[in-house]
């Protein structure tokens, strides 16, 4: 029972950081139809910026959050630049061209990160109040992980509120659903597109900053979540924030349970999940209606 509880808690602790990173990715894909291959690179850049800003000191919580938002803002700017210079021109060019563009952008960001930050590994200490672990029952859980879970839930709620309850959200959903009609109705689609891309990248940057105390900030970090983004989009379904959250939790739980009960299969868990979803319900678990194949 203890093991199960531990596995579940760790699954959530793995899933929510994944959601933090994947939320931006699903947002961009859902609204603009662009599979942002470079998303992992934005994530890595955010972590690097944050690490450099901190300079190895352990901060108080408010300062930590401030710097994290600062890193997110930097990445948002990078996102705006990318969108204006690259994706805005390729909106009507089809998926493959956009994919090539995203890949090229990813390479440039990776090269830029070596040029700017060098080849050393950066270490980001946890903020002062969250250095240890608390016990849920008899299961130890690092308090920083709980903080990240809380942050993730706040982001999820915020995104949901933005997309579903605000007028901006209505415009975003209109553009996602039918860009031409939205424009005809007066929605400034290019501005919305730029805003969504910036927000998606900001989320990636924020995720990079918040995740950095838990993983090495070094080259190769961008590949950590690369496949998982795609998996979350498939399982969660297009355009659904809660779907992305649920999918991330599912992936995290699957892996965590397998590590406890069937370690030899733990790497395959994610793929097994995807295959099951693809064969049973290709439009995703949390979306109603037939599959939007975005052909």
């Amino acid at each position: 029972m203890n093991q199960l509880l531990s596995a579940v808690i760790n699954g959530v602790a793995t899933g929510v950081p994944l959601f933090l990173v994947a939320s931006g990715f699903t947002l961009i894909y859902g609204v603009m139809g662009v599979l942002n291959f470079a998303h992992g690179a934005f994530f890595m850049f955010g972590a690097y910026c944050f690490a450099v800003m901190l300079g190895g000191q352990a901060l108080s919580l408010p300062m930590f959050l401030l710097y994290a938002l600062g890193a997110a803002a930097v990445i948002a700017v990078l996102g705006v630049l990318s969108e204006r210079l690259v994706f805005a021109r390729l909106y009507n060019s089809g998926h493959m061209i956009n994919l090539l563009a995203a890949y090229a952008l990813m390479l440039m960001l990776i090269g830029l990160s070596i040029l700017v930050f060098g080849t050393t590994t950066y270490h980001v200490p946890r903020p002062s109040p969250f250095k240890g672990a608390v016990h849920i029952g008899t299961v130890p859980v690092p308090s920083y992980n709980l903080f990240v879970i809380a942050a993730g839930l706040i982001v999820a709620a915020g995104l949901w509120f933005l997309l579903n309850k605000s007028s901006l959200g209505m415009k975003i959903r209109a553009v996602a659903h039918d860009r031409t009609t939205a424009r005809a109705l007066g929605v400034r689609a290019p501005l919305v597109g730029m805003g969504v891309f910036a927000l998606g990248c900001a989320l990636a940057g924020l995720a990079g900053a918040l995740d950095s105390p838990m993983i090495s900030v070094a080259q190769g970090m961008d590949a950590t979540f690369a496949i998982q983004f795609f998996v979350v989009v498939i399982i969660g379904g297009l355009g659904s924030t809660w779907g992305a959250l649920a999918a991330s939790l599912l992936v995290g739980l699957m892996e965590s349970l397998l590590v406890y009960y069937a370690p030899a299969w733990s790497q395959y868990g994610m793929y097994i999940l995807v295959v099951i979803v693809l064969l049973m319900r290709p439009q995703g678990l949390f979306v109603r209606g037939p599959a939007i194949t975005h052909s």
Binding site: L90, M96, I97, L99, L100, A101, L105, I114, I227, L278
Partner: protein, 339 residues
């Protein structure tokens, strides 16, 4: 202002020697290009022959992927799986000392079998679900390289000797080059024939307008299956050549990013042009292993080059000569006044 006389009805092209020769050249463009390139590279120093061979093999691999990306119009993130099937098959056969050409053909069959299996699994999928499955398939095979101890995971299987063909030791780059030219040339020629056949036309039809094609009785699903199996065959052949040249089967060839690279070669070279993927492969290999060698932030420039290609030449690099010809014609008409 003159009265427009109705256009004369179209007649058959004049059957004189010049146009017949041109048509024949058009049909045999693959062998001619292969012989010309083959001869050119034969005079290169050894290390460049080796590089050219690698480019040629990747060219074949990209051509096989283009059957899915260009002809079918579908993304794939798992093409490296069929490439890897060919690689590891030949590597596992290294102690049997079989004829290299035989191994190549068998590797192609192995690639086709993997492709067939993949098709069976994805029969009911399309769109992004299909693309996702290609990635899953590729990654599962990659992970199996580590799970199945016989495949040696990241150490790979070294010591794969290409053997001898007609008395020529293929270990020498200059002989291997001609061997590769032969195999790749035959494959490209066959691809050409397929592309021009009715089957090829129905593939392009079902890509360009699936609904109309279906209405016309084109069996879309079985076309996709057949194309994927063919693509798997040629990818397996490329894999066999690759491991025969490199001498070692390594796991990184199956990683999904490598599958992404293969599609990139198609896109950079131009998936609408027949030789496009080969051009893409040459540029890709050259950028990654030669140009910017030794700069640790080389990716910045490589990515930049790709970005420029995407923005300026969305049809790929092989659209460049066409654009140049058009530009030249326009300049000429501006100057001469004659349309």
């Amino acid at each position: 202002m003159s009265v427009q006389t109705p256009a004369a009805p179209p007649t058959a092209p004049p059957a004189d020697l010049a146009s017949r020769a041109t048509r024949a050249l058009g049909r045999f463009d693959v062998p001619v290009v292969m012989v010309v390139v083959g001869l050119a590279v034969a005079f290169f120093p050894t290390n460049l022959q080796f590089l050219a061979t690698t480019m040629l093999i990747y060219g074949l691999l990209a051509m096989s992927a283009n059957m899915i990306v260009g002809w079918l119009g579908t993304m794939t993130f798992g093409h490296a799986a069929f490439f890897g099937a060919g690689i590891y098959f030949v590597a596992l056969m290294k102690d049997f000392h079989l004829n290299p050409l035989l191994l190549v053909v068998l590797a192609g069959v192995v690639g086709a079998l993997f492709a067939a299996f993949f098709c069976v699994v994805t029969l009911r999928l399309s769109g992004i679900a299909f693309v996702m499955m290609t990635m899953v398939f590729g990654q599962v095979l990659y992970l199996l390289l580590f799970t199945i101890k016989k495949l040696h995971g990241d150490d790979g299987i070294p010591g794969v000797l290409p053997g001898k063909l007609l008395g020529f030791n293929l270990l020498m780059p200059k002989y291997f080059w001609w061997y590769a030219v032969l195999v790749v040339g035959v494959c490209l020629f066959v691809m050409r024939l397929i592309h021009r056949s009715t089957f090829g036309h129905s593939v392009l039809a079902s890509r360009d307008d699936p609904i109309r094609a279906a209405a016309l009785g084109v069996p879309t699903l079985s076309i996709r299956t057949r194309v994927v199996i063919l693509a798997g065959f040629f990818a397996g052949v490329a894999g066999a050549l690759f491991v025969q040249q490199q001498g070692i089967a390594s796991s990184d060839t199956l990683y999904w990013l490598n599958s992404g690279n293969i599609v990139l070669m198609c896109l950079v070279g131009g998936r609408g042009h027949f030789f496009g993927p080969v051009v893409g492969a040459v540029v890709f290999v050259w950028l990654n292993t030669q140009l910017f060698q030794g700069i640790n932030y080389a990716n910045l420039f490589i990515g930049g080059i790709f970005l420029v290609i995407v923005l300026a030449l969305p049809g790929g690099l092989s659209g460049l000569p066409g654009k140049a010809v058009d530009l030249f014609r326009r300049l000429r008409s501006l100057r001469g006044g004659r349309p």
